[in-house]
Amino acid sequence: MKLWLTALALAAALGSAHAQDFNWRKDAGTTITFLSSNHPWANSVLKYKDEFTKLTGITVKVDTYQEQQMRQRLMTVMNANSDEVDLFMSLPSREGAQFAKAGWYANLEPFITKDVSKDYDFGDFSKGLVAAETHGSLVSGIPLNIEGPVLYYRKDIFKKCGVTPPKSLDDLLSVAKKIKACDPSITPFVSRGLKGALPYTFSVFLHNMGGSYMTAQRKSDLCSAAGKAALTLYATLLRDYGPPGVVNYNFYQISSLYRDGKAAMAFESSNELKSVMEGGARLNDTGVMLLPPGPGGSHPTVIGWGISVSAHSKHKEAAWYFVQWATSPAMQARLALMGIAPPRASVANDPSYRKWIDAEPVRREWIDAIDQANATGTSEVGYPIVANIASRDYIGQAVDDLLLGQKPVQQACAEADRELDALIAKD
């Protein structure tokens, strides 16, 4: 894989020889359809889509859905081999392997190497995110952002209760306990409890605890000592220190609870910064950090959304032009100022972006956490198998069994391992 990525970066660099023939208006008059998720990246970039039309003469029709509904629409269109969608957003850490195996992605490799404008620097993207978009010789998409779960915490409440930011996973529990005793009206800790959504946050607990989802022999390993410790800690934090009804919590309930000043710690996506800071109430009292290390060290989760061209599109070139425009250094620098953490190194070092970061201390802590996650993190959310999405449900089931007090940890992890072994065997 490393060799392939190096070759791709080299080819992309050589491809700049073609850049002088590059013509933005080659496909003028074409209309392309973009299936988009209601994601901060899409909401920000689409404000400028008229500029793309002016530059290229290509019209972009946008269909926006909530994340899950977008996948349903995609499934209907792609299953019918329809060319109705030219471009779509995709989360490679979740569905990349499955969509690639189903043949839904057009290979962007020839476009990256042969049809690029001179200022499009493919080698500038985060290596980890490009690796997640690479399946053998197929490049399934271009990274749009970089994100991962971070711990938002209330500095004022910490000060009032005489606690310092947790330095280890064990610390997290004792901090939550002290906050509960100090101010019972505040929810000490909140994170995801919704079955299908929680592996995103739980995975960091598992990895920091020293666990992994699969053994070298490709057996599910939730019942390892580290696995059981992670399950127990995560469920205990939510059950004893989380809000009532946390079992149904996803990102929007978490952001809203924290933004309203009702939670002292929220472990949620870095992407939620904008939502958390909405209204400005949390701007001056919030700190951001990675989940503290555990016995296994620090292994933050880092993922990114990508934009892909449909294998059934009849306008692949025009679609690629939109991809190129939307992921260009110039556009990503503009989006960075709206809180979309950039997947390009050059943008991360851009002076206007650094100035934006330095304007608020919370932004500095936020980007430090993301940079650290980018440098040391893993994109393993759920099992590294084609049926990754189904695997997340079993992880969520095991956590919720404990959270709801329905099963002891041994039974919950053993049942999950049994189901997951069957899933791995089909891979």
Partner: protein
């Protein structure tokens, strides 16, 4: 012969495209789903004929049986609530002389609301931390509830939400039935000295049965394939406690991309709905007077 066959022949010819179109629109998706249910087809793997494999897998799938159980419990609870309360409200409205028009207009309002709005509205009201429902319980000195977040209470809560929306619909159907009853039977009951309760159970209720069964048929179809409010509020949780057969089939198909297996679940659900509707239609014919 030619004088009668001509117009009838041209009527058939005129109606034929519409009939064929309608049949295709119903028959094609059903036949395609039926065909898929006999395939082993998961996104990313090759598709091949699986015989009755998907149906045999259903028999050994605890989540399928969980889905059947939840679907039936929700059906019985909701239908019972809606028919009971709907009939009661209809009788009250029938006897009400003042504000009858205003009350009828108000009754329509819940079921014209889109299910998404209803789901979101109740999600906020029933939020265990900040919702109004727990605030009211607290004022009344009752213990707080986790409502939709409690595996024990999630189905009764969903039944309550659905009944809030659809009881007025049942009430309007039953009210229509009440208004069409012949006054002579009441005069006869009055002459015979029947009490008000006796008149209701021995005269009104038997005569109303066809209307009540009609409402039951209409609600049964919706209740057995219950989806929208659960999808918006709990997505089948917590821990599959509201994972109805329809939600389970949907998740298998559109989240896990197990198309063949999801089709088998949906064909089974369609068979259950069809069976219930046929049974209800039979009951309605028996109740006709």
């Amino acid at each position: 012969m030619s004088t009668t066959a001509g117009p009838s022949g041209s009527l058939t010819a005129l109606a034929l495209p519409a009939v064929v179109f309608t049949l295709l629109m119903i028959a094609f998706p059903f036949a395609y789903t039926l065909w898929l249910s006999f395939q082993s087809y998961t996104l990313g793997s090759s598709e091949h004929f699986a015989g009755a494999g998907n149906y045999l897998q259903l028999l050994n799938d605890p989540l399928f049986w969980n889905g059947i159980r939840i679907t039936l419990v929700l059906y019985v609870l909701s239908l019972g609530l809606q028919l009971g309360l709907g009939t009661y409200i209809a009788v009250l409205l029938h006897g009400s002389k003042r504000f009858a028009d205003v009350l009828r207009s108000l009754l329509i309002s819940p079921f014209v609301l889109p299910p998404v709005v209803v789901g979101m509205m109740w999600l906020v009201i029933l939020d265990p931390a900040i919702g109004a429902a727990n605030w009211i319980l607290q004022i009344a000195g009752l213990p707080r509830s986790d409502w939709l977040a409690s595996p024990r209470w999630v189905i009764p809560t969903v039944a309550l939400i659905d009944s809030w929306q659809w009881t007025p619909f049942v009430a309007l159907i039953v009210l229509g039935g009440l208004q069409s009853l012949p006054p002579s039977v009441y005069e006869a009951a009055q002459i015979d000295g029947a009490s008000r309760t006796g008149t209701f159970w021995r005269v009104t209720f038997p005569l109303l049965l066809p209307s009540i069964v009609t409402a039951a048929v209409l609600r049964s179809v919706d209740l057995l394939r219950f989806f929208d409010i659960i999808y918006i509020t709990t997505q089948g949780g917590p821990n599959d406690a509201s994972n109805t057969l329809n939600i389970y089939g949907f998740r298998q198909g559109f989240e896990f991309f197990n198309i063949g297996y999801a089709s088998a679940i949906m064909i089974t659900l369609s068979t259950i709905v069809l069976g219930a509707v046929l049974a209800m239609s039979y009951a309605r014919r028996r109740a006709q007077w």
